[in-house]
């Protein structure tokens, strides 16, 4: 027997009045907007997590969704991340599209087992008979003066795991388009949300249901002298560094990786083939952070293009400290500028 779902493809649901799109929104509002769009157009999408219901999530990412779609589409879970992950996998295997929330980055570790052993494997394990179309949303990273375990950059735990996709937006528009893509993706997606920039700025994000591709890096700024590669909240520092470098007459290209896995290395390689220099910026600890993979690819495939050693500007190889010291942990714009200048001096 094949499990029939009552999900209708977007096309069949016909005319849908898109939300007002003339008001700029924040990154977190774009996330809410994407979930709402997809829930409207696909009945198999359900949202679950701790406090996602009447409370609308501790960050308000699911604000209003339960009122709008009912408590059968937006479910508070018992307080257990193993439960959330396991239920999500089970629902996904039977044709639903669960969008689960881990309340904070630091609470997702108990989910690792179900993600690595199951979500990422059911398709290959069953030769395609069952698969796991789920999204795990994870508010990610530091810089909001939060308590312990609320500020972690743990994407590297997942980037070595085959069968997953790992995504991290850095703007409201990309948050919207990438989340739509993640929900529609038939395979599991870890969707990291850089909470430091949840409300950093607003932009116009048409609520048009247009997804963005899940395997593309974005060149946010063209440049010729050095390539700055980053993702998530740290893209802000990369862009600021590019501004500062411009003041010194240095032209920096800025790339937002956006999808870490699968990595669109071509875009990075193409840029480095022109600039000859690369500074990788990320919030996680340096050793074996995802920046290592990008540097490794450069060492393998772009060696002849490199005019200077690759630079990584990252968190230190320590845990992010409690908030009195956390800003000294996070890579600063200044450190990015210094690294870029070192790369230029080396060439």
């Amino acid at each position: 027997m094949n499990v029939a779902t009552n999900a209708k493809p977007a096309a069949e649901t016909g005319a849908d009045t898109a939300a007002k799109t003339d008001t700029p929104i924040t990154l977190i509002e774009a996330i809410t907007q994407a979930m709402a769009w997809e829930m409207r157009h696909d009945d198999s999408v359900v949202v679950l997590g701790e406090d996602v219901g009447v409370n609308g999530g501790v960050f308000r990412a699911t604000a209003g969704l339960q009122a709008r779609f009912g408590s059968e589409r937006v479910l508070d879970t018992p307080l257990d991340e193993t439960t959330i992950a396991g239920l999500t996998v089970g629902m996904a295997l039977q044709g639903m599209k669960p969008v689960a929330e881990a309340q904070f980055d630091g609470f997702m570790y108990p989910m690792v087992d179900h993600i690595v052993c199951h979500a990422a494997r059911f398709r290959t394990r069953t030769r395609g008979r069952l698969h796991c179309p789920m999204v795990l949303r994870v508010p990610w990273g530091g810089g909001i003066r939060a308590p312990e375990h609320h500020s972690e950059a743990n994407e590297a735990i997942f980037t070595n795991v085959p069968g997953l996709r790992v995504v991290m937006p850095s703007s409201p528009a990309r948050a919207y388009g990438l989340l739509l893509a993640a929900i529609r993706e038939p395979d599991p997606v870890i969707y990291f949300e850089p909470k430091r920039i949840y409300r950093q700025y607003k932009e116009l994000v048409p609520d048009d249901g247009e997804a963005l591709p899940l395997d593309v890096c974005y060149v946010l700024r063209d440049g010729t002298d050095v390539t700055l590669v980053s993702w998530g909240a740290q893209v802000k520092e990369a862009l600021e560094a590019a501004d500062r470098l411009a003041e010194d007459g240095i032209s920096a290209e800025v790339i937002d990786v956006a999808t870490l896995k699968p990595l669109d290395f071509d875009t990075i390689a193409e840029s480095v083939s022109r600039t000859g220099r690369c500074v990788i910026v990320h919030e996680a600890a340096k050793t074996a952070g995802f920046g290592a993979e990008i540097a490794a690819r450069l060492a393998e495939e772009s060696m002849y293009d490199l005019l200077a050693p690759v630079e990584r500007v990252t968190g230190y190889d320590t845990h992010i400290p409690l908030f009195r010291l956390e800003m000294k942990y996070l890579p600063s714009t200044e450190r990015v500028v210094e690294a870029a200048k070192r790369a230029l001096a080396a060439g």
């Binding site: 094949n2 193993t82 629902m91 639903m96 199951h118 290959t124 069953t126």
Partner: protein, 357 residues
């Protein structure tokens, strides 16, 4: 003294080890014709099991987890389910799976190191064998949640062992089934051992059935070597689930008559006397005694049926043995619906490398 709550856990047993009723089973589960069919199924499973062990011993199969002694529990669970229900096994409940349509050759393929064994022709929606202990219980709860949200009249049934009852995933499944009032049945198959660790070392709980109390589920303990008790226990749990009365935990008391798997040597940790005593309670002999006493079974029939089972299983074994190894690209082809470019490049390289051999 003020009492906050009281609980009572019932124990079900109808057919004693001597093949006689210790209590009269409910009419609706004790239809002799059906019992006979299920008995034959139990014999089929036992034949399959011994042939699989032989295959492993002769190097034709990888590690295999036997089900010797569990036949009444497994077949009874399978018998209680409808095709549209969902079964989430651990790794030795072949008796239940065969009743749901899984082919013996699929079991062999899986233990033979070939993922195609998990691509059940029937039932397409059941979960495959699950190696990380008890994680399937939570997937079953998730499936049950999907059924409830979609208003589908289906029940998710899952199994774990006495060892598995210690696993936190089992608790999570039980607790969420209670919190959401799910159509969910947690079978805890207590066969006395988790590899070398005896039941008493797993927990201080008097019964494993009472694990369900932690989630507010209905709890029951049954003699898992008594097909009647298994059928009645499952009937109650399935009915509750179908009637929207929520989930159940059933502890099936049985015994692992074989080594844990073919990779294990139970003599290192287990007393032979205990095994011998357990053989006196095993499920097939007592049911044979009963059926024979009813005039429904005799030696002739058993011999003929054994030949029949043997033949059918040999066909399956041959299908397994003749299966060709998957091509190297199979490793890549089921990872993503839409594989990334880098992965496709690795796939091409692997194919080219194979071609060069």
């Amino acid at each position: 003294m003020t009492v906050a709550a009281t609980f009572e856990i019932e124990y079900l047993q109808y057919l004693g080890p001597d093949g006689r009723f210790v209590a009269e089973p409910p009419k609706d589960i004790a239809d002799p014709g059906r019992i006979l069919e299920l008995f034959k199924q139990m014999l089929f499973v036992r034949t399959f099991d011994s042939k699989s062990i032989a295959l492993q011993r002769t190097g034709k199969l990888g590690t295999y987890a036997a089900c010797l002694g569990h036949e009444a529990t497994h077949v009874g669970i399978g018998a209680a389910m409808r095709p549209e229900d969902l079964f989430a096994p651990s790794y030795r409940e072949y008796g239940a799976q065969f009743m749901r349509g899984v082919h013996p050759r699929e079991v062999l393929m899986y233990w033979g190191g070939d993922e195609r064994g998990n691509d059940f022709e029937i039932p397409r929606h059941d979960l495959p064998w699950c190696v990380p202990i008890a994680t399937q219980c939570l997937h079953a709860a998730g499936a049950a949640l999907a059924f409830k949200l979609r208003n589908e009249p289906r029940v998710a049934v899952t199994c774990c062992g006495d060892g598995g009852s210690s696993k936190t995933d089992t608790y999570a499944a039980i607790n969420s089934a209670g919190a959401y009032e799910l159509p969910f049945v947690q079978c805890i198959i207590n066969n006395g051992w988790a590899i070398s660790v005896p039941r008493k070392a797993q927990t201080g709980a008097k019964t494993l059935a009472q694990k369900g109390l932690a989630g507010g589920l209905h709890c029951l303990q049954v003699d898992g070597n008594d097909l009647f008790a298994v059928l009645e226990g499952m009937r109650r749990a399935m009915e509750r689930a179908r009637n929207g009365e929520g989930g159940s935990v059933i502890e099936f008391m049985t015994y692992r008559l074989h080594d844990h798997t073919t990779a294990d040597d139970a003599r290192r940790y287990r007393d032979e006397a205990e095994v011998k005593a357990a053989w006196d309670k095993e499920p097939i002999a007592r049911l044979r005694t009963w059926l024979t006493a009813q005039g429904l079974w005799d030696e002739e029939q058993e011999k003929a049926w054994a030949v029949d089972c043997g033949k059918r299983i040999d066909v399956e074994i041959n299908a397994y043995l003749e299966s060709k190894v998957q091509p190297v690209e199979a490793m890549f082809d089921y990872l993503y619906a839409d594989p990334p470019a880098d992965l496709l490049a690795q796939r091409e390289a692997a194919i080219a490398r194979e071609a060069r051999r």
